[in-house]
Amino acid sequence: MRRFLPGLVVLTLAAVYGWQVMDIAILPADAREAMSARTLPLVLTAAMTVIGVLLLVTAHAQATASSPVRRGDGRKAVGLLGVCALSATLLDPLGVPVTTALTLAAGMWLLGERRILPLLAIPAFVSVVLVVLLLLLAIDLPAGSLWSKHV
C-alpha cells in the first residue's frame, strides 16, 4: 500500500485544489481572454493529476528507489506539533515572553528533560534574553491580553 501512497496523495491534492478552482470568480470581461484568474490553477490541476497517475503507474519503481523509512517516536513528534499549536493559541492571552518560556519548557519536557531546575531556569533565561534582544531591535512585543499592557 505504501508504494501507492505518493500517487494517491498527489491525486488527492489535485482533486481538492481542482474542486476549489471551480469556485474562482471570473469577471465577464476576462472570460474571453487567453488567460484568466482560473487558467493557471486549471493547468496546475491537470498537471498534478497527470503526475499523480504517473506516480501510481510507476509505483513499483518509485518504491524501490525510495529511501527506507526510519522509525522513531511518533507520539513525541505529534506532541511537539501539539505544543506549537497550543503556543499559537496562547500568544494572544499570555503574550510573547510567557508563551516563549512555556513553549520551551514544554518542548524540553517532551524531549526528555525531567529536572526541575533546567526546566525553569533555561526557559526563563531565554525568554529574558529574547525580550531584551527584540526591544533592542525596536520590536514592540504584545504582552498579552491577560496582562493588558505592552512590554
Binding site: 505518493p6 487567453a34 490553477p41 496546475l44 523509512v69 522513531g72 500568544l91 524531549l111
Partner: protein, 498 residues
C-alpha cells in the same frame, strides 16, 4: 559597471555591513554545525531578524549565514560523524576517520582552508560571470522571463534524487498551487482563500520556509530518532596547523575541485550537495587504489575535495540567483524570497536598479570567506562545544525561533497555526520522499510566472507564438522540454537536497 562595483565596495565596507558579514558568518557557522540544521534552516531562521535592516545589509547578513553554515556543517561531520547539512556528508567519509585517529585538528584545518579557497575562487567567478550574464538578461522580455522561470522550476525538479523526479515535479506544482492562494492579480478578487480573511493577502513566504525546513526538520528529527547526540572528538587550537606535505597534497585538489564546484553551483538545481559528491568521487577515482591511507579511511584529499567544491558551489549558486532571479537550490530559493520581501527584485533589474546591493553582496563574499578563516577557524574548538549541548534543549529552542519568526512578521497567531499545519504536511510529504526545494521554488516563482505569462499572452494576442518567435524564448522552451522529459528516462541520480 565600474561605478556600480565601486558603489558596491563602498556599501560593503561600511562598518555596519562589515559587522553584518561577521555576524552572518558566525551565526551561520554556529547553526550549520548543529546536525540536521543546514544552511536552508539557518537562512530561514535569520529572515525575521533582518526586517529592521536595509536591504543590502540584510542580504549581506543572510549570504554570510549561508556560506558560514556550509563551513560550519563540516565541523560536525568531522567531529561527530553527523553532517550539519547534506553538502558536508562527503566530508565525513574521510574527516571522521581522521578525527578518530587523533587528527581532528588537521581535518578541521584542511576543511577550513579548502572552504576558504573554494569560496574565494567562487567569489572571483561570481565577480566575472555575474555582470556578463546580467547584461545578457537585460534584453529579456516577459515571454523570456516566463520560460526562464519554467526552466528554473523544471531544472530543479528534474535534478531531484533517484526516484524523486516525478515527486520533484509534483512538489513544484504544489508550491505553485500555494502561490495562487490570495488576491488574484487579474481580477483583484480573493482566490482559493477558503473564505478565510487571513489568507486574502496570500501565504507568507517566511511561514512556508520555516514550515518546510526549520520546523519540519526538528519534527522529523524526533520522528526518525536522529537528533544530534552528545560528545564526539575534540580539537585544540594548536592542532589546527598544516605542514608542508599536507599543503602539497591538498593544493592541486583544491584548485581542481573549486573549479568543478563553481561550475556545478552555477547550474540551476545542482548545488553544493551534488558538487561535493562529484568532487569526492572524482578525487577518489584520480587517486586510485594506491592512495595512502585509502579514501574512506582518513585521506586528507577526501576532506579537501568536497569542502572546496561545496563552498565554490555555494558562491556559484549566486550567479543565477543575482542575474536571472532563478535560485539553484532550496537555500538560494529562501534567499530569493528574502530579497523579494526586502523589496528587491533579483535578476537583471537588481543589476540595473540596485547596483550597490548587487555588487556589495559579491564584494562581501571575499570579506566573509576571509572572516571564516581568520575568525571562525581559531574559534572552532570553542564553537564545537555547542555539539555537547543536549538536543532536548537545542531542538525546542529552534522550535521557539520558528514560532516567533512567523509571529513577529504579522503578529497574527493564526499564522502560527498555519505554520504548524504546513509543517505537519511537510513532514508527511518528506516521509514519502517528496523533496522540499521544488515546493519552495514553485511557491516563489509561481506568482511571477503567472504575471509574465499573462503579459506574454497580451503581447502575442493570446497566441502561443511567444514560445518560439524570440530566439531566447525558443532556446529556453527547448531546454525546459529537455529538462522535463530527459530525467524521466534517467536510471540513476544524485539527491539534490541542499
Amino acid at each position: 559597471m565600474f561605478d556600480g562595483f565601486l558603489a558596491g565596495v563602498d556599501t560593503a565596507f561600511t562598518s555596519f555591513n562589515m559587522l553584518m558579514v561577521i555576524t552572518g558568518c558566525f551565526a551561520g557557522t554556529f547553526i550549520g554545525m548543529l546536525p540536521g540544521l543546514g544552511p536552508a534552516t539557518a537562512v530561514a531562521l535569520m529572515i525575521p531578524m533582518t526586517w529592521g535592516l536595509d536591504p543590502a545589509a540584510a542580504i549581506i547578513l543572510m549570504a554570510g549565514v549561508y556560506y558560514g553554515a556550509v563551513f560550519g556543517g563540516s565541523t560536525s561531520s568531522i567531529l561527530i560523524n553527523a553532517p550539519g547539512c547534506s553538502s558536508t556528508v562527503a566530508t565525513a567519509f574521510d574527516g571522521y576517520p581522521m578525527a578518530q585517529r587523533g587528527a581532528a585538528g588537521k581535518a578541521l584545518a584542511v576543511a577550513a582552508w579548502s572552504s576558504f579557497s573554494g569560496g574565494m575562487f567562487g567569489a572571483v567567478g561570481l565577480l566575472v560571470a555575474a555582470p556578463l550574464l546580467a547584461k545578457l538578461a537585460m534584453t529579456f522580455q516577459s515571454p523570456d522571463y516566463a520560460l526562464l522561470m519554467l526552466l528554473g522550476l523544471t531544472a530543479v525538479a528534474s535534478l531531484s534524487g533517484h526516484g524523486q523526479v516525478l515527486k520533484g515535479y509534483a512538489m513544484a506544482l504544489f508550491g505553485m498551487m500555494l502561490a495562487t492562494v490570495g488576491t488574484d492579480g487579474i481580477t483583484g478578487l480573493p482566490r482559493l482563500t477558503f473564505g478565510q480573511p487571513d489568507l486574502v493577502d496570500g501565504l507568507n513566504f517566511v511561514l512556508i520556509a520555516m514550515a518546510t525546513y526549520a520546523l519540519a526538520e526538528v519534527v522529523l528529527g524526533v520522528l526518525e530518532d536522529r537528533l544530534p547526540g552528545d560528545g564526539g572528538a575534540t580539537a585544540r587550537f594548536r592542532d589546527l596547523a598544516l605542514n608542508r606535505a599536507d599543503v602539497r597534497a591538498v593544493a592541486p585538489v583544491i584548485a581542481r575541485q573549486s573549479l568543478l564546484g563553481f561550475l556545478v553551483g552555477v547550474l540551476p538545481g545542482a548545488g553544493a550537495t551534488i558538487a561535493s559528491f562529484l568532487a569526492y568521487s572524482t578525487e577518489k577515482n584520480l587517486a586510485g587504489a594506491t592512495a595512502r591511507p585509502p579514501f574512506g579511511e582518513g585521506n586528507v584529499r577526501g576532506v579537501a575535495a568536497p569542502e572546496s567544491a561545496n563552498n565554490a558551489a555555494t558562491t556559484g549558486a549566486f550567479v543565477p540567483l543575482l542575474t536571472l532571479g532563478i535560485p539553484g537550490s532550496g537555500t538560494t530559493a529562501i534567499l530569493l524570497g528574502a530579497m523579494i520581501a526586502h523589496g528587491l527584485q533579483p535578476g537583471p533589474r537588481l543589476y540595473a536598479d540596485h547596483p550597490e546591493v548587487f555588487w556589495s553582496v559579491i564584494v562581501s563574499m571575499f570579506v566573509g570567506n576571509l572572516m571564516l578563516l581568520v575568525i571562525n577557524l581559531p574559534m572552532i574548538p570553542w564553537l564545537a562545544k555547542v555539539l555537547r549541548l543536549p538536543s532536548h534543549v537545542l531542538m525546542p529552542l529552534v522550535v521557539v525561533f520558528c514560532l516567533l519568526g512567523v509571529y513577529l512578521v504579522s503578529f497574527n497567531p493564526g499564522d502560527v497555526l498555519v505554520l504548524v499545519v504546513i509543517a505537519a504536511i511537510a513532514v508527511f510529504l518528506r516521509r514519502l520522499d517528496f523533496p522540499m526545494a521544488p515546493l519552495l521554488l514553485g511557491f516563489i516563482l509561481g506568482g511571477y510566472l503567472e504575471d509574465n505569462l499573462q503579459r506574454a499572452f497580451i503581447l502575442y494576442d493570446g497566441g502561443l507564438g511567444f514560445l518560439w518567435q524570440r530566439p531566447a524564448s525558443a532556446v529556453m522552451a527547448i531546454a525546459t522540454l529537455v529538462c522535463l522529459v530527459l530525467p524521466l528516462f534517467r536510471r540513476s541520480g544524485i539527491t539534490a537536497t541542499d
